[in-house]
């Protein structure tokens, strides 16, 4: 009762007044994944630092399910008062618009983006028994014969990265879907399947131990966490750039002043040595972009994945 009254008062008061008094209550960051994933952990690392800077409580709320689109739809419909933010990500804000039958939100029109925090690159991995050990040899094989590649699920970033490679290099790799990256890794380690797209982070140990081979990475530059892996771009496929990114977005209509203040707080938090160290450990690139850059980035992502999804027979 009291909260709805506060909401009503907040809604009736003019926007500038809202921005002046912000933040005066608890801010929640809605995360579309279960606790413990790397995206969730980014939010949980950030929350206390932002909270300290803004002088108000910042809580992380998990609302997992359906590739975080449930959480995205909830935030899209939330009050644009600066107290609800969404941990935006490539699934909900880049790919799902083209792969889900009903979504309930528009990734560009329904959000004001605050920042892109960082991204984890994907890697094209080969089993230790695969007949190739470089991307060049792989491309030759994939052009000569039918090739399968695995990923952690239909319509995931890793899957569409494979479709992006198909489109850019003119390949016809077929996708084998798994319930998650860990399951896909079981088959890759057992050499049941020869190729897989997966995040770099959890595979560095396996790559260094020689249990699997890394052929190429999907970032424009090499990853500091694994500098020996070449990029697709330097091997002649500049279009194969794919990020598993996370950022922060507010419901559309959130006043610019609030977005700017919130961005300032996250920007400061992102300079924290602990966060920087954690990002490096995860093999996560430190981005920390401004609201304007974030808006442009998300629009680009939506355009890119739309093109890829429409080109892939498995989605059509």
């Amino acid at each position: 009762m009291r909260t709805s009254l506060i909401a009503l008062v907040a809604a009736l008061s003019a926007a500038p007044a809202l921005a002046d008094t912000w933040p005066s209550q608890t801010i929640r960051i809605v995360v579309g994944f279960t606790p413990g994933g790397s995206s969730d952990l980014v939010a949980r690392l950030l929350a206390p630092l932002v909270s300290e800077d803004l002088g108000t409580e910042v809580i992380v709320e998990n609302m997992p399910g359906a590739a975080s689109t449930i959480a995205a739809a909830t935030v899209a419909e939330a009050n644009a008062d600066g107290y609800t933010f969404f941990l935006s990500n490539v699934s909900a804000n880049g790919i799902a618009p083209f792969t889900y039958p009903t979504l309930g939100y528009d990734p560009v029109a329904d959000f004001n983006d605050v920042t892109i925090l960082g991204y984890i690159p994907a890697v094209l991995l080969a089993s230790k028994d695969a007949p190739v050990s470089t991307l060049e040899e792989f491309l030759a094989q994939a052009k000569a014969e039918p090739v399968l590649f695995g990923s952690g699920g239909h319509g995931t970033m890793n899957h569409v990265s494979g479709e992006l490679l198909n489109m850019s290099a003119g390949l016809k790799m077929e996708h084998v879907a798994y319930k998650g990256s860990a399951e896909a890794m079981n088959d890759l380690l057992a050499s049941v399947i020869d190729y897989q797209f997966d995040a770099l982070t959890q595979n560095i140990g396996q790559i260094n131990a020689g249990a699997i081979k890394a052929l190429a990475i999907t970032t424009p530059e090499r990853s500091p966490a694994a500098p020996e892996i070449p990029t697709f771009a330097e091997l002649g496929l500049p279009e194969v750039v794919a990020f598993n990114w996370v950022g922060l977005s507010a419901p559309a209509g959130t006043p610019d002043e609030i977005i700017a203040k919130f961005y300032e707080a996250t920007h400061k938090a992102m300079q924290d040595a602990k966060i920087k160290a954690q990002f490096t450990k995860w093999g996560m690139f430190h981005v920390d972009s401004t609201p304007a850059e974030a808006e442009a980035f998300v629009a680009d992502e939506v355009a890119k994945w739309g093109k890829v999804v429409h080109s892939a027979p498995v989605f059509n």
Partner: protein, 499 residues
């Protein structure tokens, strides 16, 4: 080895190591004892707190909750016929009848003993055989998983208190329910009615709490007699097993530990399947299977040893391969990653203090759990010794809290209520929920693995003969069917002879 153990104990016996171990196992026992309050939910709630601890301390505490719950879970199964955790569901089958016969104390004592023996044997395997078992598990691909699940479902077909026909029917209901969700290969929505919450399939926690938890509440709501059905006082004297109990339990506990260690170490299977498999093995290998379901001590000691052994060996693939076997291990992996620990083949050599510290702390934790669960069992029983009119509304709250805390989805609450009614209906027509749950879990996994196998083999299922492990699993399945049929006709002959 000695050097490693010394290192491990130096970590585990430090003040912090001991403190977080104790905290973990106490919390685990509470979570295990109370039906509806799940390990997953507890770990999720506590994870943010552990970010401020050392990696080793965080893992010691969270692991303590996990294996502690495997001890506590059987208490509610025995006293209330409500599984405290999903993994102890099978303990209801014989534990509750034992309680009804006034042998609750013995059942509690023997499950604690079985849990300890299972854990210690599982722990020995974790410490000594990790590299070997890891190599076996590493050879598992989709064809192996598919054939293993064929074996699992066939085993479930025989797992029933009543007729095999009823349990097969329940398995099929489970398989059909497993169809709900997104088609894994094409992304097509099957029976999701535009509810995004159903895109990943029917939530297992909600369905199992609905089928196992609610029917009991409904069945008891109409009763005038309001005293809990827990019979007798749990005194140390009433807990003393007879020589006969010990003799009958020895082999089931050893077999259960072996079965549990095996399934625990396999990624994708775990405590639940281990306890089911152990129950089937005990029932099928017993000279008189009809005593099962009526308070057979073998039916609780085998599965309890199995599920505890599995909780220990579950750490093998997680720590040595970086491949979590189940959702709980996936969370553990998450905790390791935030602390910069990269689980993988080199973890044991690169961070021996972490691996051996965990091993040593598991040993200490299991000793603490025996103390918590045998002399102090009265304390936990008191948690449950609350009158029905107070206990069951509280259980309803716990069920709803537990279900909601997994996905924060209202749809899950509706499902738990709906499946509570379904479960009550099933109990009226004596249809067992356990095979249904197994069908629901294994169905989608089998479908995925079969479809992947077919894709990888380019549609040629006969290529499975090139995978020796798959052939072994299929041979086991065949043997199980033959054994079951022969055993059945033999039982019929014996019955005829008696007449």
């Amino acid at each position: 080895m000695l050097e490693n153990l010394t290192l491990g104990f130096s970590v585990a016996l430090s003040l912090g190591g001991l403190l977080y171990c104790l905290l973990g196992v106490v919390l685990g026992t509470v979570v295990g004892v109370l039906p509806g309050l799940g390990v997953m939910a507890t770990l999720a709630i506590l994870m943010p707190i552990t970010f401020h601890l050392d990696a080793v301390h965080a893992l010691i505490m969270l692991s303590g909750i996990y294996y502690g719950a495997a001890y506590g879970g059987s208490t509610a199964s025995i006293l209330l016929n409500l599984p405290g955790t999903a993994n102890t569901a099978i303990t209801c089958l014989d534990g509750y009848p034992m309680a009804q016969q006034g042998r609750a104390g013995v059942a509690l004592m023997m499950t604690a003993v079985a849990s300890f023996i299972g854990s210690i044997l599982g722990l020995l395997i974790l410490a000594f055989c990790a590299p070997i078992l890891a190599r076996v598990a590493l050879n598992f691909g989709s064809p192996e998983y598919f054939t293993l699940m064929v074996l699992g479902l066939l085993a479930a077909g025989m797992l029933s208190k009543g007729s095999q026909l009823r349990s097969v029917a329940a398995i099929f209901i489970g398989l059909f329910l497993g169809i709900v969700g997104t088609d894994i290969s094409t992304g097509v929505q099957r029976f999701t009615f535009d509810l995004p919450e159903l895109y990943t399939g029917l939530p297992l926690v909600a369905i199992s709490l609905g089928l196992f938890g609610l029917p009991e509440v409904i069945a008891n709501a109409g009763r005038k007699d309001n005293a809990p059905q827990m019979v007798g006082k749990i005194t140390m004297r009433s807990m003393m097993p007879t020589r006969e109990d010990l003799r009958r339990s020895t082999m089931p506990m050893l077999r259960g530990s072996a079965i549990g260690s095996f399934f625990g170490a396999l990624p994708g299977t775990g405590s639940l399947i281990a306890s089911f498999a152990s129950y089937v093995v005990e029932k099928k290998s017993h000279r008189d299977p009809s005593i099962f379901g009526h308070g057979a001590i073998e039916g609780i000691t085998g599965p309890e040893a199995a599920n505890n052994a599995a909780t220990q060996t579950a750490f093998i693939p997680t720590l040595t391969l970086g491949v979590p076997g189940d959702a709980i291990m996936a969370m553990m992996l998450g905790v390791m990653l935030i602390h910069g620990v990269a689980p993988g083949p080199r973890l044991i050599t690169e961070q021996p203090d972490l691996f051996w510290g965990l091993v040593a702390s598991f040993l200490i934790g299991n000793v603490l759990l025996v103390i918590l669960n045998i002399p102090l069992v009265g304390l936990w029983v008191r948690l449950l010794r609350i009158p029905y009119h107070m206990l069951f509304p509280a259980i309803l709250v716990f069920i709803c809290l537990g279900v909601y805390s997994v996905n924060y989805a209202v749809v899950d609450l509706v499902l738990v209520m709906a499946f509570g009614l379904v479960g009550y209906g099933m109990s009226l027509i004596r249809l067992e929920p356990a095979p249904l749950i197994l069908g629901l879990v294994l169905g989608p996994m089998m479908e995925e693995n079969l479809r992947r196998t077919l894709m990888i083999f380019r549609g040629d299922l006969w290529a499975i003969w090139d995978r020796p492990l798959s052939v072994a699993f299929l041979a086991c399945s065949l043997a199980l069917v033959v054994w079951s049929l022969v055993g059945k006709s033999k039982a019929k002959r014996e019955l005829a002879a008696d007449l």
